[in-house]
Subunit: 320 residues, 2 copies
Amino acid sequence: MSKIISILETAKWLSENDNYLIITHRRPDGDTLGCAGALAQGLRELGKCAYIFENHEVTPRYLPFVEDYTAPADFSADQIIAVDIATTELFTKSALEYKDKIALCIDHHNSNTNYSELLCIDASRAACGELIYDILTDLAGSISKTTATCLYVALSTDTGCFSYGNTTADTLTIAAQLIKAGAPNKQLNKLLFRTKTHGRILIEGMITSNMEFHFDDKVAIVKITREMMNSSKATEDDIDDIASLPGSVEGVGIGITIRELSSPTDCKISVRATPPYNAHELCAKFGGGGHITAAGASIKKTVDEIKADLLDELKRNFDN
Amino acid sequence: MSKIISILETAKWLSENDNYLIITHRRPDGDTLGCAGALAQGLRELGKCAYIFENHEVTPRYLPFVEDYTAPADFSADQIIAVDIATTELFTKSALEYKDKIALCIDHHNSNTNYSELLCIDASRAACGELIYDILTDLAGSISKTTATCLYVALSTDTGCFSYGNTTADTLTIAAQLIKAGAPNKQLNKLLFRTKTHGRILIEGMITSNMEFHFDDKVAIVKITREMMNSSKATEDDIDDIASLPGSVEGVGIGITIRELSSPTDCKISVRATPPYNAHELCAKFGGGGHITAAGASIKKTVDEIKADLLDELKRNFDN
């Protein structure tokens, strides 16, 4: 079990130690990377030595915020810190060697497994970056433009540019402080939220123009075939949150994405539901599961066979 | 010419007068309507009589925020206030009778034509709602949940949920205060930014799946035909800001939308450009104009003829 420590205790611990190595999670997002960049920069500004452990999964979009801090191969850390990582299962392969050596974890996930010696956690925060902001301002009294920029990336990406349900008054208050400290929100928003890749726009076009509606438009179904992935040249990054698309249509309660993987009979479904509909219950019928609002299943049938099976199952539910 | 007055002077004037009629602009957006709703509610909470003048162009999405304040036919106002209206040319037809009788205009447009007796203006504000917030908090010390909800609609819609370049630290600070006062940002964001109509998703699918790229993908061209509008059943509301779509693709400097209007040879083009490209210069060649980043033109040719002409013109520019 971790020892839970407050923001103030975390700041004090950081001021009393040195030679930090910061770990980010698998499939790293803007929050884990923005936190790592901000923490490394903030600690360096205080005269400390701080590096970020290599993460080969960093996408080009986020590289500028972390690349200057990458630890050299021969760096010997005194203290290892994990940011925005709920469990060691989310460590990258190369970071696994550190999984029993984490001195401090800073996190906002309710599901944190207490794997670190010290744990600074607040699950009410929209982004882990909010905690890093509190810690760094407590440490230094203010934050630099570089630190503010990394933290803006953290806050804005974890809240869908302040549009998701996790966004609080605190999130916006901190974001305002980051802009005052010099975070270039106009440029960052353009980069992070107002630019689509070619692959994304092409596959989104294919998906939405073939979206099917059933049961008085309460159910929307889209498919992503290997042919669509090939012809759009879309990457996994490009289709990252695409399963939310059918569920975003007005009046739709169940949004289903059927995706063809390695072969025509190797598929997965992703379901998004708005209560009273239940994504987990539907996916459980197909050997999968998840949460009420988001669930999935792997199915060894073709896209069209799966669609027919889903419609049969849904018909039974809608008939009742 | 209007007499320019400060936030404090505006609050004082509002406290000294009564029987207000509030005017909103043509094709009303979230800012003009949110401002009107907030001002009517805030004035009523102070014991004043305040109504919003009928605006038949209010879309269903925004109706809940203004319908309770609609002026009865026999209401006789002492003072008429315009919110978020730069010029009387933006008055609705039925509001034109008041165009020379506006006692106060509250606005954030640099292009305001000084048509009102008194004018409270700050063009540095992202939304007119920021000014209404300052005025109402000055008047009453705090704002109610209902007022905060209307103002959240104003601020969030004029900034694309805080993603546009006009968003400032002040915008986010005020938005945080609105959430603290009870504005249900989670529900409002879902309604305003995370839900697409059927028409929107269908026409977006058609548009994006047929998007063309030219000149090393620096130029993206889309077309909207009458057939596409008919088959998608998209309304004018649904395609409101769709001209920004081709310009949102990574690497695209000039995004062009060619739209067929009343007949196959009645078209308009909308151009969005990122410097060094110039939307105004391109549209001026076709008898139109506008700003460097956004411009348009009406052209009496078919969509395909216009596309060919545009490509010829662009080729000359790219060759130089």
